[in-house]
């Protein structure tokens, strides 16, 4: 019975959501939107509380770090002070932990993989590797021109401004490929509900 009820609910939500595009904005769509928001937030809270309980509260009650873990949990929930006008500043302390740790980790790791390793890979020999010399040359030239576009814009005057234009052409090729590569994603996301609908109607096997 629960399965049948689930099917009815899922199909009803599908109709409500798709009505926005297939008909027009309406109250059923808004209802589905708010339900989605509530469900997603609720799930986030449930999972987060489960994690806090499993990882910090339960071990603290079983001995070991004990009181330290409980103090840490209280400290973390000081974030709630953000909603008070008078005590808003208290929330900056737990925020400082996230900001300090997050920024430091991002700094040290992005320098290595997104700058150093990429520059190293860009300094490829024209002859050799799995690509033809022409391919390697094209790659190197495009990389240098596009980096120069971002790092040296104020210095482009006169004939050097043609370099700006060429860099923009290459970037348009890059952005075009990204847009073109996205289309299968959108279709795949829709296909989930389409296959569910067809299976529910008996037009498609499992």
């Amino acid at each position: 019975m629960l399965e049948e009820l689930g099917k009815v609910l899922s199909l009803a939500f599908l109709a409500m959501m798709f009505s926005f595009q297939l008909y027009r904005e309406n109250r059923f769509y808004r209802f589905a939107e708010y339900t989605a928001l509530a469900a997603s937030l609720g799930n986030g809270v449930v999972i987060a509380l489960e994690y806090i309980r499993k990882t910090f509260v339960t071990p603290s009650l079983q001995g070991g770090p004990g009181i330290l873990y409980l103090l840490a949990v209280v400290f973390a929930f000081l974030l709630a002070a953000n909603y008070s006008r008078e005590y808003k500043w208290i929330a900056r302390y737990p925020m400082a932990i996230i900001v300090g740790v997050g920024m430091a980790i991002a700094l040290r790791t992005s320098l290595e993989t997104e700058v150093a390793k990429q520059v190293w890979a860009a300094m490829t020999s024209i002859i050799g590797g799995s690509y033809t010399p022409l391919d390697n040359a094209v790659t190197s030239i495009i990389t240098i021109i596009v980096i120069a576009y971002f790092l040296m814009i104020p210095k482009y005057t006169g004939r050097a401004s043609y370099l700006l234009r060429i860099a923009r052409y290459f970037m348009m090729i890059g952005f075009g490929a990204t847009i073109g590569a996205r289309v299968p994603s959108f279709l795949a996301w829709t296909s989930g509900r389409i296959t569910y609908l067809l299976q529910a109607l008996g037009l498609l096997g499992a």
């Binding site: 297939l22 990882t55 339960t58 993989t113 390793k117 590569a181 279709l187 989930g192 509900r193």
Partner: protein, 263 residues
């Protein structure tokens, strides 16, 4: 008005493409082949694979088929797996669904051959700590069992205890995985949303990652290679027909107004 007509035609096309499949041939791309060959090459007693569910329930139709095919392949090869989730809190329940659909419990013993940790909050902080101090942030699994009690995970300390890391991502944390795990020289494979492939190719080109599955096409290629056919292959005909429809719309959008003007 044109929006509604176009939408209905698209919906009908998608339905027809599923009901009446054509079965167009699919070309296997090199990154997908490398991914498959790596799993094939792992011996049965190798260290466990670390897989991460970083896709949401909304993005699951694109990436979930790849993950299912990879997990089924691992089960067939007798490889052990540890499943976590970093990018989204929906990972825990999606992991339960994955275990049910793959039938892993019928073949494997929980705690010995596979463990499901579930969602670990913290984003990049969690990814870094998983690599350096696994048991610091993973005290128990998604079912409440202590990690130190399970044979598979009791001796896992850091990145050295995994044979490879495989994130399945639509939530956008793939770059964080690459930044934190690739410097440790752990074999790195990924499955990502198709739109992210151009952004991710520099990592592949630099040798930081050894293979990847891009979107539903990548999933279909892996299903074809591994023999575990699923929804990804079935979707490829729908992709072909709707892409043709898209090109037709672009051409029609250019020609029709021109013809109207001439009239």
């Amino acid at each position: 008005m044109d929006k509604i007509v176009i939408s209905w035609i698209l919906l009908l096309m998608m339905c027809v493409a599923y009901i009446v499949p054509i079965g167009l041939p699919l070309k296997i791309r090199t990154p997908s082949e490398k991914f498959y060959k790596f799993i094939e090459s792992l011996p049965k007693d190798s260290k466990p694979l670390l897989m991460s569910i970083d896709f949401t329930a909304g993005g699951a139709p694109e990436i979930y088929p790849s993950m299912l095919a990879v997990v089924r392949h691992c089960i067939a090869r007798g490889l052990r797996i540890v499943v976590v989730g970093i990018g989204t809190d929906e990972a825990t329940v999606l992991m339960h669904k994955l275990f049910e659909e793959s039938g892993i419990a019928k073949v494997y013993r929980y705690g010995v051959d596979y463990v499901g940790i579930g969602y670990i909050p913290g984003g990049e902080m969690a990814i870094t700590t998983l690599a350096t101090d696994f048991q610091k942030i993973v005290k128990s699994d998604a079912y409440g069992n202590k990690i130190s009690d399970l044979p598979l995970t009791r001796d896992i300390k850091d990145y050295n205890d995994f044979s490879a890391v495989i994130p399945f991502d639509t939530a956008g944390v793939l770059t964080l995985w690459v930044r934190n795990w690739t410097p440790l020289k752990v074999p790195f494979f990924a499955s990502m949303t198709a739109g992210y492939e151009p952004t991710f190719v520099p990592f592949y080109n630099a040798g930081l990652i050894q293979g990847y599955l891009a979107g539903i096409s990548g999933g279909a290629e892996y299903e074809l290679l591994s023999g575990f056919r699923g929804s990804a292959i079935k979707s490829m005909d729908m992709q072909s027909i709707t892409h043709l429809y898209a090109v037709t719309l672009i051409i029609a959008g250019l020609i029709i107004p021109y013809l109207r003007k001439r009239r």
